[in-house]
């Protein structure tokens, strides 16, 4: 893949030359992708495949500001030249549709290469060997519990990009992502429950790494235990409660509640903007709370350059309770009144890039200690941590929301939802498991209610974000645990 990306430069330069001749701005994106995947269940391989895909997108802005994106799944030079001509033609035709005119600002000429050392190994993945290892892993996770259905999946995704602009910018980068996931399901008395666990590594040889396997096995065993217990758990009533959430849920809170509303392409309707401009300086949360998004090396959502060929900068969205910076790209920064940050990402060469998050985190000043590894914190140990910190002196009971299972936001209204895998009601003498329930409310209420944090930052909560139908990897986290006071605009549940 690395050699092929290098070789594509000539085609890109030729198109850039043609764009200059036609006096159009060009963002040329070539993508090569390979995905190896294997799934095993009940000791058998259920699927095994290697898929490759590639193509390029010609994104033009004409002299009068109309834009169009044309794409093909090959790199045939004649077809590529036709594609550019076609893109200019349909952009010019945008006038009849009332298409908006865009101004392309002066952009920094950017050249760079980012190819991690782990990338070449992705060309030598042995799927049969991977399947054997997954089968062993399934048995280790099952640990003799034959009434639980366990599916183990391996996915090694190599995502390579070459992006050129007619101003001489040229970046190429390759993102290696390997995820091993486990889904557990259990049926009893006609009722089924499921839970999942996963772990990420930039190395496609992660299954040969003891630390990785230990981490995955711990998470998976917890999922197995949960699906066995959930059928007997009661539903949780609706209401506003003091909460403790783990770092994965904190990632969900940052991503859903604030990250999306800070994406500058939505400022004409976002609650974090007024008259299309970011409300920089506005107080939106407690003074000791900040939210930061930035690409993190060796992370699931790492992306060193934007899909428009700019260097991706860190963005401090909330700085000690006040709005500070936004996720912005060339089309949205100036209009939104925020600095250009190279925040655009795209799912594929077919997609128009949008300002998107990478790895987002909540930081809390003065976080308390949480000794040891996060994975060793079961509900009992969480309760001990809270008891030692005196949290039960403030709240007789506290709801511990464990494990993130997705979320959604309406950036226009500021309403967000996300769900957990389990709810534990903790007090000084007991722990009671409840079924998961939706956690929803106003983003301002949620950030205002963050009271304290425990533990160091842990940023490996992984997910996928589906903004405008484009799925890109996301990640993030926070301190091991965040404590949220009850807030009338933030609710849990209800349950039937």
């Amino acid at each position: 893949m690395i050699e092929e990306l290098e070789g594509l430069g000539r085609l890109g330069e030729e198109l850039c030359e043609e764009a200059r001749r036609r006096s159009v701005r060009l963002f040329w994106r070539a993508q090569l992708r390979s995905i190896h995947s294997v799934a095993v269940q009940d000791g058998k391989t259920e699927s095994s495949s290697r898929v490759t895909a590639g193509g390029h997108g010609v994104h033009v802005v004409t002299a009068d500001g109309r834009s169009a994106l044309a794409s093909r799944d090959d790199f045939v030079p004649d077809a590529a030249r036709d594609l550019l001509a076609r893109a200019v033609e349909i952009a010019d035709g945008g006038a009849s549709l009332g298409a908006t005119r865009a101004v392309v600002p002066d952009l920094p000429r950017t050249r760079g290469v980012a190819v991690p050392e782990l990338v070449p190994a992705y060309d030598r993945i042995d799927l049969a060997d991977t399947a054997r290892r997954l089968t062993e892993l399934e048995q280790e996770i099952r640990a003799g519990e034959d009434d639980v259905q366990i599916r183990v999946g391996f996915r090694a995704d190599l995502d390579g990009w070459r992006i050129l602009r007619e101003d001489g910018s040229d970046v190429r980068f390759v993102i290696p992502r390997t995820v091993v996931s486990v889904r557990a399901a259990h049926r009893r008395a006609g009722r089924s429950h499921s839970a999942s666990a996963s772990a990420f590594s930039p190395s496609c040889r992660a299954l040969g790494c003891g630390d990785f396997v230990t981490l995955l096995t711990k998470r998976a065993r917890r999922a197995v235990e949960l699906v066995r217990r959930l059928p007997d758990a009661p539903a949780h009533p609706s209401g506003s409660f003091p909460l403790v959430i783990d770092y994965a849920l904190a990632k969900g809170l940052a991503h859903e509640a604030f990250g999306h509303a800070s994406e500058a392409d939505g400022f004409r309707s976002s609650v974090l903007a007024r008259d299309g401009r970011f409300r920089t300086g506005t107080r939106v949360g407690a003074d000791h709370v900040s939210i930061v998004d930035e690409p993190v090396a060796d992370d699931h959502a790492w992306q060193p350059f934007s899909a428009n060929g700019l260097t991706r900068d860190p963005v401090r969205i909330v700085d000690r309770g006040r709005l500070s910076e936004a996720l912005a790209d060339p089309w949205s920064a100036e209009a939104g009144g925020v600095p250009l940050r190279g925040s655009a990402r795209a799912e594929s060469y077919r997609s128009a890039p949008l300002p998107r998050m990478t790895n987002i985190r909540i930081e809390v000043d003065g976080a308390g200690p949480a000794p040891g590894d996060f994975e060793d914190y079961d509900p009992e140990r969480v309760r001990s941590l809270l008891a030692e910190a005196g949290v039960f002196r403030r709240h007789r009971e506290i709801r511990y929301l464990s494990g993130y299972s997705g979320g959604q936001v309406n950036t226009t209204s500021g309403e967000f939802v996300f769900n957990c895998k389990a709810i534990y009601v903790l007090d000084e003498s007991s722990i009671r498991l409840h079924k998961p329930a939706i956690f929803s409310g106003s983003m301002f209420g949620a950030l205002e209610s963050v009271r304290e944090a425990f533990g160091p930052l842990r940023l490996d909560a992984l997910g996928y974000c589906g903004k405008w139908g484009q799925s890109v990897p996301s990640s993030g986290g926070s301190h091991y645990f965040l404590v949220l006071d009850a807030h009338p605009e933030v609710k849990l549940g209800g349950g039937a």
Binding site: S47, V51, L69, A70, T100, A195, L230, G494
Partner: protein, 438 residues
């Protein structure tokens, strides 16, 4: 749509290896298509975040049973078909594994004659944006009179072809078109159309009128009902995204075979009614010119009507080739879009009657968090910020609520009612569950 020579070359290679004894059986399905689309973001049509887009792509899906009985399934992209088909086959062999349930190719059979292609739609997909320009003009004019703050949405058209050939003598071909438009107001309410051809001007106007009328009611804040077990009327869009999405997951052959859902193999064909005794769920992909219409699947299964649930009894799961064999049942044609799905009960009440029976409760227009639910349990706890309070005289205005319960309890409830909505093929559902207004 120029890659047919590459397809021919690839299946020639398969035939050669079959004749040499390296391949026992095979199938190949080549899809090619092009699409034109346009987005609207906060009143801006075709800005760089949602530009006019034109795309062309294709690929070939193969299923190969090798000489030793091992099996490979995968996809070859168009450029590999052109440049390196031999290498693609060699790579397919390297990924082979033992999967006796998947390792078979269905016999060639006659296909149904159904219409899936509309020339007018194909012209849009090729670049004629005139029909979209006219529609966008109407939408913009309605928006400007409406008092809504912003609108977003999109429109698009596609044309594609699919050719399937196999070692069993099949050589199936089909071509189809698709077109859609969607309008969302203030990021909260939306409606649109998706089909093989554009809806008529009258249907378009009627749908827009319903949307803007709904927005008028939605713009008023209503006094929420007290929390409790209340009537809830789910709009068809919510029924599709949550109810049918969950039900079809539980009816998937994979879910059944692996014991990951509500139903087991023994439940299918049994006399036991696991859902309410009048409940029906079926699918017919042979009705011409629906979005979900097709002639055959990518595995070479011909389109034919399928009944999943009849009289509350389970008839068959959704079955591709692999899980059909594993469960000892016949493969069937999976739903491609909800406009070919029939979900109903003995009594379907008109919308006005449904709304009357929902008095004291809420009408749910949209929910957040469908993908966050534990789909295996059927338990739901969904935020419903786009809801309307329903009084004795109909909807009174907007409320926000959480709804919770268990879907399978709902689908067995005697009080469940199906409600017809104008312009929709999927019904709404009226039932009672826990409602917690905010």
């Amino acid at each position: 749509m120029t890659s047919s020579p590459h397809f021919e070359r690839f299946i020639d290679l398969l035939r050669t290896r079959e004749a040499a004894g390296a391949v026992r059986a095979w199938s190949a399905a080549m899809q090619e298509g092009r699409r034109l689309s346009l987005g609207i973001k906060d009143r801006e049509i075709g800005n760089p975040h949602s530009p006019l887009r034109l795309s062309e792509d294709g690929g070939l899906h193969y299923r190969i049973v090798w000489d030793q009985g091992t099996y490979s399934a995968g996809r070859v992209e168009r450029r590999t078909l052109a440049d390196a088909p031999e290498e693609a086959l060699d790579e397919a062999r390297e990924t082979a594994y033992d999967d006796p349930d998947a390792a078979w190719i269905p016999p060639a059979v006659p296909l149904p004659a159904v219409e899936t292609h509309v020339a007018a739609t194909a012209r849009i997909a090729a670049g004629d944006t005139t029909p979209f320009a006219e529609r966008l003009g109407v939408i913009r004019a309605r928006f400007e009179r409406s008092g809504a703050r912003t609108w977003s949405g999109g429109c698009g058209a596609s044309e594609g072809s699919l050719r399937y050939a196999s070692s069993e003598g099949a050589d199936y071909r089909t071509a189809g078109t698709g077109v859609s438009w969607y309008v969302g107001l203030d990021g909260e309410l939306g409606d649109g159309h998706s089909g093989r051809h554009l809806d008529s001007d009258a249907e378009f106007d009627a749908r827009l009128s319903r949307l803007f009328s709904l927005r008028e009611i939605f713009s008023r804040e209503a006094t929420p009902p007290a929390p409790g077990t209340l009537p809830v009327l789910l709009d068809p869009g919510v029924v599709e995204s949550y109810v049918l999405g969950t039900l079809f997951h539980h009816l998937s052959g994979s879910t059944v075979a692996h014991g990951e859902g509500r139903f087991s193999r023994e439940d299918f064909g049994s006399e036991e009614r696991l859902l309410r005794d009048d409940l029906e769920l079926s699918h017919d992909p042979t009705v011409s010119l629906r979005r979900g219409t097709y002639r055959f699947t990518g595995e070479g299964v011909p389109a034919a009507p399928v009944t999943y649930v009849r009289g509350g009894r389970l008839v068959t799961p959704r079955l591709g080739l692999k899980y059909a064999r594993r469960l000892g049942l016949e493969p069937n044609a999976a739903p491609a879009a909800y406009d070919c799905v029939r979900f109903t009960g003995a009594e379907v009440v008109p919308f006005a009657e449904g709304l009357r029976r929902a008095a004291g409760g809420i009408r749910v227009l949209g929910v957040l968090g469908v993908h966050t639910q534990d789909i295996a349990s059927g338990d739901f706890s969904l935020a419903a910020p786009q809801s309307l309070a329903v009084g004795d005289e109909g909807e009174t205005g907007r409320v926000r609520a959480t709804i919770s319960g268990n879907l399978f309890d709902v689908l067995r409830d005697r009080a469940l009612r199906f409600v017809s909505f104008e312009g929709e093929t999927t019904p709404g559902l009226l039932f009672s569950c826990r409602v917690d207004p905010k």
